[in-house]
């Protein structure tokens, strides 16, 4: 072989690089099957990215206009399908705002408890999946194990593992079962243990730290004007949390902290979620205690309001009395008669502010149901987190914004 001529300048050795276009997704495992990214690469650096959502557009808003107000519930389950109960709560609260009613105290506490359970399951899934995408498979399996416990409790209460459709306009489908409180109390410490175990594997791991710290940074101002909310916004150092800023249900009575990050990078988003799991556990414990204090038989001791125009009569009344049958028939066939008006109801869901803009023109059907899916906004901001970074950093960054197709594309 000829010896290599060593007289080259350093610059001559560099290959001339032209931007390369790379398609990523939608059937890429890290893109959750629903996002396509068109990347313009210079070597390994991402020069520009065009994020294309819409591969899971299922016409939620169109379908909502077709049924009655109550028939929207199953569709809300499938918005953010990792925390379905929070979506149920959000929609129920929005319609109740339009109706001008409020559920009794026990129903409110019940919503808080089940909603926070859902939030824990959401954060567990997100953090676990993000760790898995970085190659750490064990925490993912452990977190899924903890998620199973939570789903089991939800199944005990609602009858479904994932798509619960449990809350109703004006209350809930059933009162708390006998065992549910003890069951929830028993899984909380176990869940916290699993979370700590998973963190012990990750947070002293050089690879995990190097690949998350300082990666995918989002600045405060940018996050605000992009409409980012939830853990992604809080990781930038803005303590905006609907549960604190405009307390709904009984969140005002609970003592909990809003974890806030500093740098707005992937690591902060991971840590904010991990801390929120702990805060959710605190909220649930306090709510369970508050629920115990409700005097049995008092008006507070009910999960649904008493209003035959809104809430379905109990089944034994439907089968034995004529009033019950008629009320049931009217509610099912005609729907709840929501007065004309227009409200925007918003709650803090797993990914941030989940808003429902409801327009009613009277009658049983919604005129317009617009849902503000929080991760649609986070995904829009991902453009700036990804651009300028490395190709491999897309994976953790994208994992940490917790893009859920159902909510993003609706």
């Amino acid at each position: 072989m000829e010896p290599v001529d060593l007289d080259f300048e350093e610059a001559d050795l560099e290959l001339p690089s032209e931007p390369m276009t790379l398609l990523m997704g939608p059937s890429h495992p890290a893109m959750h099957g629903t996002i396509r990214m068109i990347l313009k690469l210079d070597g390994e650096t991402v020069q520009d990215v065009d994020i294309q959502p819409g591969y899971l557009h299922r016409a939620f808003e169109k379908m909502s206009e077709r049924g009655t107000w109550s028939q929207v519930f199953p569709y809300t389950d499938r918005l953010n399908y990792v925390s379905p109960l929070l979506n149920n709560v959000g929609y129920a609260l929005a319609v109740e705002k339009l109706l001008g009613v409020e559920v009794p105290r026990k129903g409110q506490l019940f919503r808080v408890i089940l909603g926070e359970m859902s939030r824990i399951s959401d954060h567990l899934t997100c953090n676990g999946a993000m760790a898995m995408e970085l190659g750490a498979f064990t925490p993912f399996l452990w977190y899924l194990k903890a998620r199973e416990w939570i789903w089991e409790a939800c199944e005990e209460q609602t009858g479904a593992r994932l798509t619960h459709s449990f809350f109703r306009i004006g209350g809930a489908a059933f009162p708390p079962t006998e065992k549910i409180q003890a069951q929830i109390r028993s899984i909380l410490p176990r869940t916290l243990e699993v979370v700590a175990e998973g963190e012990s594997l990750l947070l002293k791991n050089r690879i995990f730290l190097d690949r998350t710290q300082g990666v995918g940074v989002l600045t405060k101002e940018h996050a605000l004007s992009m409409g980012v909310s939830g853990p992604v916004l809080r990781s930038c150092g803005i303590d905006y949390d609907v549960r604190k800023d405009k307390p709904y249900l009984t969140y005002g009575e609970c003592d909990f902290d809003v974890p806030v990050g500093e740098d707005g990078d992937t690591y902060d988003r991971f840590m904010v979620r991990a801390e929120e799991i702990r805060q959710s556990c605190r909220i649930i414990e306090q709510s369970l205690d508050l629920m115990k204090k409700i005097a049995p038989g008092s008006p507070d001791d009910a999960v649904s309001i008493v209003d035959p125009r809104i809430v379905l009569p109990p089944k034994d009344k439907v089968y034995t009395t004529i009033e019950g049958t008629i009320a049931h028939f009217k509610l099912i066939m005609e729907g709840i008669d929501v007065p004309p008006g227009e409200v925007y109801g918003y709650t803090e869901a797993g990914n941030g502010e989940l808003g429902f803009l409801l327009v009613s023109r009277g009658g049983g059907n919604p005129w317009r149901v617009r849902v503000r899916g929080p991760c649609f906004f986070s995904l829009q901001a991902a453009h700036d987190m990804i651009r300028g970074g490395m190709l491999a950093d897309i994976i953790p960054t994208f994992g940490s914004i917790n893009m859920i197709g159902g909510e993003c594309d609706r």
Binding site: G54, H57, S225, G227, R410
Partner: protein, 193 residues
Amino acid sequence: MSKLILERLKAQFGADVLEVSSFRGDDVALVKPARWVDVARFVHDDPRCACTYFVDLSAVDLCDPRTDDLDMDDRFEVYVIAYSVEHKHRVRIKTRVSGDEPRLATVIPVWSGANWMEREVFDMYGVHFEGHPDPRRILTYDEFKGHPLRKDYPANRAQPLVEYRDGTFNKLGPFLQDEGMPLNRSAAPDERN
């Protein structure tokens, strides 16, 4: 909630603010489409409002195809919601555009987050945003014709991108050959009936 923003808007824009309301605690202002961007900029920049946080932008179709003319004036109601993290108040600004070639100016210079939302409104309702840097469809695909959330678009008019196979689809129960459950309640016409 505080009605401060609404009062400031009325003082600043006078007759261009057509209507204000505070139904169930939501502060809403209806403005003329010509002043859409000015109002948005005012709400964003004014130190007493300081609504720097962009919450949502979308639209409502006000036309009922059973009774109204599809080209009616004021057919699409575009709204934007903004929030102030500092003062903890929020406002919803609405404007109405006609059903015949609806257009409106873009608010991306005010809140950059409006980018995808305006694309979505274009996709779903066909409202053109003038000055939008990237006016493509977002949730449906480029080949899609029409705007699905308009009330006159039939909910199940599909526009498949790949040809359906033909032949037998011998699904066993519980699935039927042509599964689907038209709810028959919609205001929009249903293709199947």
